[in-house]
Symmetry: C2
Subunit: 734 residues, 2 copies
């Protein structure tokens, strides 16, 4: 906020108030000030970049694109801002595309790269056409800089009548420009690439005409062949497992090259891939001196952390971190071998983990822009009904964790039109069932019925409507807020009227032809716990009838394990969950996993683990949804979560879950909350906002800086103020 105060001193009263309003309502405009950055139409760069990224998937050397509609950027864009100058200013202009520049509506001749703006109040417009890339500009003067305060539109509607008068453009919808951190004029958005760093193999096994290279752990990047020469074919078989790399017919990704080098030269593969092993098979006179790789990564630093007395849990946490980093790239993707795509349900979990590790807003909002695409909506996000809803839920959580309203303001129209699409697909009972083209996914689970009105979909639908009501309020759409709220209330009531079964003490899986099915699954029951849709009594009943009931079909994906364990944690079952974590994630580690898998079924043996989708090596061994311990340990063991948007207020409710001690950091929009917990002592430093430390203690807690409120039942609360360190001595009841 330092730049902001500098700017405020220089500006006049009117813009001072405007800036003040912006600074009060959003944390998104921290670029305000003298930092020039490349700007574009919000979401367009993200859509363009995700197209580039998602189309890098190959399968057996064949291009493997997505199967849903992908959108394209607006090719013609107008940017403007009004400036008030004390003195004339020289301004440099850079653009991606063909452009013109206007000062107060009057164009400069040609395509100026440098203009002089006279003193006084002036409006600068820059209009850009670009087909191949997203139209973008970079403007830099002493005080005039391109940033997120510029306004932009794809239809300026500025016509000129027969007398030379220009039209009223009040009807044009202007949004704030989008930006990342491309602050160099010579490094425009279209040139962006993730950084790479060289890595060496840890082991090489040289055979007759092949070499098997082991990089020691799951990794991602570009294979580099050193001193490649000779003539003939060369094939690289990539493997997340040794078995995959050695399977010429089974390896999911391969590179086939025809070499014809009379002089030895280094060669880097054109596409980055996921692997631990590569098996390189050469023919003819082809030879090379060495193999290494360029590790490709998103340079995002960790803010959160977790350590405890249990080394297995520490290992699980570390491998989870690595798994999440590998699958956090330009966007949050599902897995690095396949699909390398942005899937809404997968990304939703990455958002949540991110809030406890990197807390990187940019990757969250970029992923949501990419997923949403543009109007018209012609299908569900990724074609999956549940994935549409996770997109809404992601916005709910993003606002809660970041406090950023600007993303909602910029996106509200797209939220509305996506919800219109959903509302338009309700049946005569106001419920959703799969229509042609809809994929009801829920989870990979054998025999799971997708027929009729599935309770899980209605549940996510209700939460999405609540999100719409919240966001309508934020953008001052009062009518919308009340409509969405009443739709949500009605649907939540219906959820229980239709699916709650008193005998089973559970929500049933579905209704077909107006009749409850007999089947109970975990999905809607576990979500209803942490959505707080159940009464306390229902929660306790469901815990026994569903969550801890071995007769209910088991979950075998880390994807739904995430929510299952969250539900149990939300009910105080941290001890049970800790054992489950050690069993499940620990189980993968015992099998040599160096990143967490797409699916894990302890009943399988050896290379059976690598099969999926009817393919021997179909499974992805590095899948973001495998990294959930990051989230569980941060939210339910360290026990830290925001209770109002952006951690203005938050709760710290630590639970050792059987551990001796634990310590860690949880990021907030401003600082980290730092916490150490043993059975006798808690040390904590609060971040901006007001926290509440809630603990169970057999005795009244004592300590430095604390003021204790007893809440009954051995429950005590201590208020945490920003930046203050607290040491609390207590006597844990668990």
């Amino acid at each position: 906020m330092k730049n902001f105060s500098v700017k405020r001193e220089r500006s006049n009263v009117k813009s001072r108030i405007a800036l003040l309003i912006i600074s009060l309502f959003t944390s998104h405009f921290s670029l305000i000030g003298q930092q020039a950055t490349w700007i574009w139409y919000p979401g367009d760069y993200e859509i363009w970049l995700s197209n580039q990224m998602q189309n890098r998937r190959t399968d057996r050397g064949t291009f493997f694109p997505v199967f849903w509609k992908v959108d394209n950027h607006y090719v013609l864009m107008d940017f403007h801002k009004v400036f008030d100058l004390k003195e004339p200013e020289e301004v440099s202009i850079y653009a991606e595309g063909q452009y013109n520049v206007k000062l107060d509506g009057k164009p400069f001749e040609g395509t100026p790269t440098r203009i002089t703006v006279p003193a006084g109040r002036h409006k600068i417009n820059i209009k850009v056409f670009c087909q191949e890339y997203v139209p973008a500009i970079y403007v830099k003067g002493k005080t005039i800089v391109s940033d997120g305060t510029w306004l932009t539109t794809f239809e300026d509607k500025e016509w000129i009548d027969e007398t030379g008068k220009t039209s009223d453009i009040s009807a044009t919808k202007w949004l704030n420009a989008g930006y990342w951190d491309f602050n160099e004029p010579r490094r425009p958005p279209s040139k962006f690439k993730l950084p790479v760093t060289p890595q060496k193999a840890v082991k090489k096994e040289v055979n007759n005409n092949s070499i098997l290279v082991d990089f020691g752990k799951e990794t991602f990047g570009f294979v580099k062949l050193h001193g490649l020469k000779g003539r003939g074919n060369l094939t690289i078989y990539y493997g997340e497992s040794k078995e995959e790399a050695l399977s010429k017919d089974g390896a999911v990704t391969i590179d086939r090259l025809l070499i014809n080098n009379s002089i030895a030269k280094d060669s880097v593969m054109p596409l980055s891939k996921a692997f631990r092993y590569v098996n390189i098979v050469r023919e003819g006179t082809v030879s090379f001196a060495d193999v290494s790789m360029l590790y490709e990564y998103a340079d995002i630093k960790d803010k959160g952390s977790f350590t405890c007395n249990d080394e297995e849990i520490n290992n699980i946490y570390d491998i989870a971190k690595y798994t999440l980093h590998l699958s956090t790239r330009e966007f949050f993707i599902d897995g690095i071998k396949r699909d390398r795509w942005v899937w809404s349900g997968d990304a939703y979990q990455s958002y949540l983990m991110n809030y406890y590790l990197m807390n990187d807003n940019r990757t969250v909002t970029s992923t949501m822009y990419a997923l949403r695409g543009k109007d018209p909506v012609t299908g569900h996000i990724n074609t999956i009904m549940d994935y549409t809803f996770y997109w809404f839920l992601g916005i709910y959580d993003y606002y809660l964790y970041s406090g950023d309203k600007s993303f909602i303001q910029q996106n509200y129209d797209r939220m509305k039109s996506l919800m219109d699409y959903v509302l338009g697909r309700r049946n005569q009972h106001g419920l959703l069932e799969g229509l042609p083209g809809d994929w009801i996914f829920i989870d990979w689970a054998a025999g799971l019925s997708k027929k009729g009105e599935v309770s899980f979909e209605q549940l996510l639908f209700a939460r999405s409507l609540e999100t719409m009501a919240l966001c309508a309020g934020i953008v001052n759409d009062k009518e919308g807020a009340s409509q969405y709220q009443s739709l949500a209330t009605e649907l939540r009531k219906k959820l229980f009227d239709v699916y709650w079964n008193e005998q089973k003490q559970a929500l049933v899986h579905s209704r077909i032809d107006g009749k409850q099915t007999d089947n109970v699954t975990r999905y809607s029951n576990m979500f209803s716990i942490f959505f707080d849709y159940f009464t306390e009594q229902q929660k306790q009943a469901v815990k026994q009838s569903v969550l801890l009931n071995n007769n209910i079909q088991k979950i075998t994906t880390p994807y739904m394990r995430f929510y299952e364990l969250e539900a149990l944690c939300a009910m105080g079952e941290q001890n049970y969950v800790l054992r489950e974590m050690k069993d499940y994630w620990g189980g993968m580690l015992k099998l040599g996993a160096t990143s967490f898998w797409e699916e894990y079924n302890p009943a399988k043996k050896g290379a059976e683990h690598y099969a999926m989708y009817g393919r021997e090596f179909g499974k992805s061994l590095c899948h973001a949804w495998g990294a959930s311990p990051i989230y569980l340990l941060g939210k339910y063991y360290l026990g830290i979560k925001p209770t109002s948007a952006g951690y203005t207020t938050y709760l710290v409710e630590p639970n050792l879950g059987g551990l001796q001690w634990m310590q860690g950091k949880v990021p907030t929009p401003k600082e980290n909350i730092e916490l150490y917990v043993s059975k006798e002592q808690i040390k904590i430093r609060g971040a901006a906002g007001t926290g509440t430390l809630r603990i169970k203690s057999k005795t009244q807690p004592t300590g430095k800086n604390i003021s204790v409120t007893a809440k009954g039942n051995d429950l005590y609360e201590i208020t945490l103020l920003p930046g203050v360190e607290y040491v609390v001595n207590y006597s844990a009841t668990l």
Copy 2:
């Protein structure tokens, strides 16, 4: 149709029937057969190309793009077709973009350029990603070729479940692929450019540091400087008039070059421009040996023609033809100096003229694709309410003149969503008035009110609803057809309830705050005549009260003169219109016009004629809407028009309008109708379809091949059969 019969012999019964159906219902699929052609998603190439074209406009050397939303192509496209092969076939594949190829759902490894398709029934899918260009493919085997029978989609929704099963893709919307005539694999759509041919100047005036070059008439293309050398600035001032070329501050288009050639070389300007004159000003040591140009044109041949005994009319017809050809390029544009854009109201007139001259369906449909763009609709076409309606009217006429249903089938969804946009903007009375962002254009006319509910807009709205009803019927949307028809009926009734003024015997211009305004303008009155919305009595009244009434504001643009004269012709005033034509278009010729202008006001003098929009040379001197004599002479003098879609039936009702004789051709989808008319004899050769020759004669007509039906009031009708030549002797009543 020759290719078709060859194909039919080779194919099996089932596809024979399919082909038969296609051949019965559309004339669009004449490419069926062995001719491979580049194919794409329908409309996408047209949108892409129009973006390229429209962004070539410059003004004083400054890039001058449009001010409305322009759309972008889908970047990811799936194409497929099922083939039934008697024997295996080798197939070559070309694509614009990255692609994969599947046979019966199974991908080939890599990016095959040649595949073998085994005998039997097989489905070929090709999926293409391309950002810079429109994804397009070209496939060529012995019988397997890419053409308009392939299906295409932007969302195939083909997902694979955990057992490896693919999804039901019945929900995917497939359209027939789009194509032009790009039949060479090595000349893909993205490389398309209009042809050019060299042309020489007719006069050069060398001055001190400049040279004024006259190309003899309005032209369009790239200026070429021969033997350019030396060092310094060189500026080319383009002029449609000599005055403009000589006005360094006023010339609308210029090229500024910095020359640094030690060796003389030829230099062609990068952008094509409109001009008759160029004034080239050099500085420093710059010199050149000669100036010529490359004339750029759309290579579309004339099919229609008109000549008569009046040389002035023949001149008008010839200049109109040249005007229309100059402004018929990749698309029908408004004018060649400016705007060089595709404007719906302007294009609508070009469509109509086209039916009487080139009869080129491709340019009509491409222009309509480009204008419509894509969903969502965020504004009127070109921002103008009337221009949205002309788009609908254009479809009505296109179907009538071409009989092509496929364009309607491919476009019906976009027609519906555009009409939804319009319907959503009605006021509480069900009428349209300008909302923020709407441009109510009607015409360039001083002081023309655009306030309130303007009658002209409701009239076009009614006709558009009728078009929707017609097209809904064609695509078998029965519910839509009846809804649109009842909306149209209701609106037509309202038009008379609200605007007809008994005292004035005319439709008034508008209603403001529920009250008829006092003003009567020509627009809605003249359209109601040829839309046949008036009773015969109203027509006669309006002719006197409005059309021939000098107290009603005069029309000064050829744009609305088009409809004014059409209305008069529709009422049999060909003699009056002929005099008006000679006055108005003849007036421009007398002022030295070599193409017809955007606007002509006989009251102005000298270079005053070149001013418009508050600019000295703002007016365009070659504007498509100036070419209407082509239409009037074909439709109302030769008197030929279709009476059912595609000239299945048509009417020939010649009217000499004071001429001694006239002869000409009018194209139909299959052949030309050829006609000679004097006051004593008519010679005619009918095209496919059944025609009716209707003539007024003082005596019973006689002649070769004819069978005459008397209709009373000296009116006689003769049936015309395809390809037969008729000679009719009669005694004209006029």
